[in-house]
Symmetry: C2
DNA sequence: TCATATACTTAGATGTTCTATGCATAGGGG
DNA sequence: CCCCTATGCATAGAACATCTAAGTATATGA
């Protein structure tokens, strides 16, 4: 699916699998908005926030963290967890913060569009 | 992204790219709920319903219609459009109708979960 | 000591979507 | 009468995120 979020936002590249792809990224960005966390903690945080409705697979999570780091959305430092283990503590970069805003807006538009098709009152 | 919709529904296979994949499928199923339509018309209908917010690419649409037909969710008959062209008129099968119900529920759960992470009041 | 939870890594497969083309025709404007 | 555009469908190939599955390592509690 795709480019479903068209240029409604004007700035959408031209291709928005960003929606699919974008959702995990969005959840990660949002989770890191208020405080730095390591991968494992991010997954648990999202699962807790959704009361286990969303399950974050490690095989999806870690690659996503690499991608986002490579794209300059995140930065990490090695550290120690409460349990005394080596962790990569991730935080948002300025770029990541802007991306969070953009993707949050995109999600809103997309969800609203789907809602319209589904016949829910258009808000 | 993925299996984001976990087994919240209990019946989710185990893998729910159904979400990404599922969204286009869901939109198509919903569009065909009330009346049979041909591919081109489905795309236009969705675009109209979302005021062009969602763009349905033909390269995504037709393969999706094949997939769904092969899976027994849709059935089609050749016909003629108002413009007098050859069209494949698609309609939902009983299985497609059930799938529509399921995916509509899944979407609701997923959207709500994302909303929770985004900090919108949990409803 | 062993099982489990924590924590991260990565290779390979799967699947949807996109880009780009191609074909074909109806109808309107010039 | 010709051409251009909108209508309709089809499909190959690429791109990409995600999943499955496996591996490494260690802290902690039973």
């Amino acid at each position: 699916m795709v480019d479903r979020l068209q240029r409604a936002t004007g700035k959408m590249p031209k291709n928005v699998p960003e929606l699919l792809k974008g959702t995990l990224d969005l959840l990660i960005l949002k989770t890191l908005e208020s405080e730095p966390l390591h991968g494992y903690a991010i997954a648990r945080s999202i699962e807790a926030a959704t009361e286990q409705a969303l399950q974050i697979e490690e095989g999806s999570l870690y690659p996503a963290l690499y991608r986002m780091t490579n794209r300059g959305l995140l930065r990490f430092v090695w550290g120690l967890s409460a349990g005394n283990r080596r962790i990569k503590s991730y935080r948002l970069t300025a770029k990541g913060r802007k991306r969070l805003e953009l993707e949050t807006a995109n999600w809103g538009h997309f969800a609203q569009a789907v809602a319209r098709v589904l016949g829910e009152h258009p808000a």
